[in-house]
Amino acid sequence: MTCDLALKAIPLYFYGELTPSEEERVEQHMHECETCSRELERQRALGPALDRRRIEPSAGLLEECRADLMAAIQGGAGAEAPSANPWRLFLAALEHSFRGWARFRQPLGAVALLALGFFAARVTPIAPFVAPARVGPADQVFSTVRSVQPDNAGGVQIALDETHRRVISGRMDDQKIQRLLLTAAREDNPAVRVESVDLLKSQPASSEVRDALLNALAHDSNAGVRLKAVEGLKPLGSEPEVRKVLAQVLLSDDNAAVRMQVVDLLVEHRDDAIVGVLQNLMQKEDNSYVRLKSEKVLKEMNASIGTF
């Protein structure tokens, strides 16, 4: 092997991309040629230096990406945020592409709730309660094969998970449907939570719904769900309990779009408590919309911008 060929083979040798016989020829050459051997050492030193450049995206970023994606697919929260940044405009433009999936949303206050696996199991024990609602003509079953094992008798053992899907329909003012939605608002799937909270917000008069909205706003990990919850709480912006949660969220939520919605709702009704909240907010807020809004309200209320 010539030095020229050996040098060309070094990266492939390093990355294990040569055939065994090519590898052997490279090794033979390295044994005999000091210059090429030094080159191989340089290649080896390059690897760890590059490895240290590697970065891991934060778990928060991954969760945000997932939430944005599911919100985009649902055609829901993303498009309705107050700011019209390029991403949201992009989502709005995309909404037309998702007509096929729009069947997951039910217009005119009726809901078809798609309940999967454990959720269906949760519904089953309360079957008499569900009975009046219309159940789909046939259950769909999806199977996932977990393992396949031949046995000694010439047969085979297949372990599979089965997921049953039921479709339950009813009107939004149906108490049973509301109860199912309240359960769905706590589902693991953020897309189901977004949709459920979106539907529940049409019934804020119910104290159960109000509590679910407050809980979603204060604790849901998905910003799309929290945005839907703020929207649902709009008619209740003067209630002390709601305002307490709004103030907490304004000071602690890490999503600027949520804080923008919350500050708008909170300042619609002005009380003395709001001054302290906004002054605290001004100490740490970095979103310019929220800052300007707070500053304006504090000025209008003749309060100082900062705390002393």
Binding site: L12, A49, R66, D68, I73, L116
Partner: protein, 203 residues
Amino acid sequence: MAEHTAGTAGARLSSQVDSLIRAAQRGDQDAFEQLVRVYDQSVLRQAMNLLRSPEEARDVYQEVFLKVFRNLHTFRFDCSFHTWLYRIVTNVCLDHLRKRIVRKEEPAVVETGEGRVDRTESFEEGSAHADPERKLWNRQLQERIEEGLQDLTPRERMVFEMRHYDGMRLRNIGEILGTTEDAAKNCLFRATQKMRSALGDFV
């Protein structure tokens, strides 16, 4: 034995992925979400490392999986889903890298699992304790690596990223990029040559 176990686990994952794809193709949104979760971390990691910007990585993530969502019905199982997906990933990343070349920008600070990191400081091992000479050396090495990476064409950068960091085989990389294994080999060779020449006496 270990290989056999890994093979079995791989086959099981592949069979689960196939079930998810089929369910998602039938319109099962939950299956689509599960399918996304099998791959999204590595897609985001690749975008983050190529583009060094959380905002751009986020855009890549959305573009990729929205394309998957819209085109999944065209997937016919005639190649592995991984290859199909990474064709989309590489196309989207190549677009961003090309735009990056036009804009000539590279963010200095990146958001990582460990918080915000200044690229120019990320090489300083145990920076609080490292001696000043070592710190200076690390900083210069880091700068040289960044310069070297800037010299790579978007295609060379993709091949280098997929081989060095993601451990993909060149045959698979060629398949993803719609080219031959030999072309991928040449790309990797050129990329490593450029990197070694940028690093000069450092390695």
